[in-house]
């Protein structure tokens, strides 16, 4: 089981903040995005189109990053901290 986290505008798009997903013992960001294309097409497209950043265990990831059982994967829209 891995944990998926959605932030900011993605929470509204995904309709949730967090979900748990069984992906077996190992997968990749690319494969996860393909899975999501079924369940949350908009999110899956944003990942593949690099409209959102993906992190695995709080580290920035790319499509080839390997995801292990127990990992925390987060979908991060463009940041806007810092006030201006």
């Amino acid at each position: 089981m891995i944990t998926l986290k959605y932030f900011a505008s993605l929470k509204t798009i995904a309709g949730k903040e967090e979900e748990r997903l069984d992906v077996g013992s190992e997968t990749t960001v690319q494969k996860l995005s393909e899975t999501l294309l079924q369940s949350s097409p908009q999110i899956g497209e944003m990942i593949q189109g690099k409209k959102v950043m993906v992190s695995v265990n709080q580290d920035v990831a790319d499509l080839n990053t390997v995801i292990h059982d127990g990992d925390e994967v987060a979908f991060l829209p463009p940041f806007s901290g810092g006030s201006l």
Binding site: K5, F7, A8, S9, S55, Q58, A74, L76, P77, P78, F79, S80, G81, G82, S83, L84
Partner: protein, 145 residues
């Protein structure tokens, strides 16, 4: 050691004291001659629209980790003595403090460079998001220049 490091990088709901943070960083060394501070505050106007309030959300753990990496890199790369970084989350009114960066060094030139780099880098790398409330509704700010 760990508590000192953590206190120099914080994400918090409550406001901070600029004077308090400056006095805290002064304790790092008797050789500080220049301190550059950047304070980001909530402004009323954004792209021509009137904002009534702001809301900040962060990715806990990752945001703090990014700020600490940023602090360590700023100290090393710009050869400053110390830096502290504080970002508020939650609801922020117009005129209120949002983000504070304090860069202390022996001379002023490197503290200006470090401080300006740090705020730009914070915006680029730290998972914090802003939601603006205007008369037409609420919107997550997707990209800031």
């Amino acid at each position: 050691m760990r508590t000192i490091m953590e206190s120099k990088v914080r994400i918090q709901r409550e406001d901070f004291s600029v004077t308090g943070e400056i006095e805290a960083i002064k304790k790092s060394s008797r050789n500080i001659g220049g301190i550059t501070v950047f304070l980001g505050t909530g402004r009323e106007l954004s792209k021509g629209e009137n904002i009534s309030k702001l809301n900040f959300e962060h990715y806990p753990k990752m945001a703090e980790k990014k700020l600490e990496e940023l602090r360590v890199k700023a100290i090393e790369d710009f050869k400053i003595i110390d830096m502290s970084i504080i970002h508020r989350i939650g609801e922020i009114d117009i005129g209120e403090n949002i983000v504070l960066i304090v860069a202390a060094g022996e001379h002023r030139a490197e503290t200006f460079k470090a401080c300006e780099w740090a705020i730009a880098e914070l915006k680029r790398t730290t998972p914090i998001w802003k939601r603006e409330t205007t008369s037409t509704g609420e919107v997550w700010v997707q990209a800031t220049p």
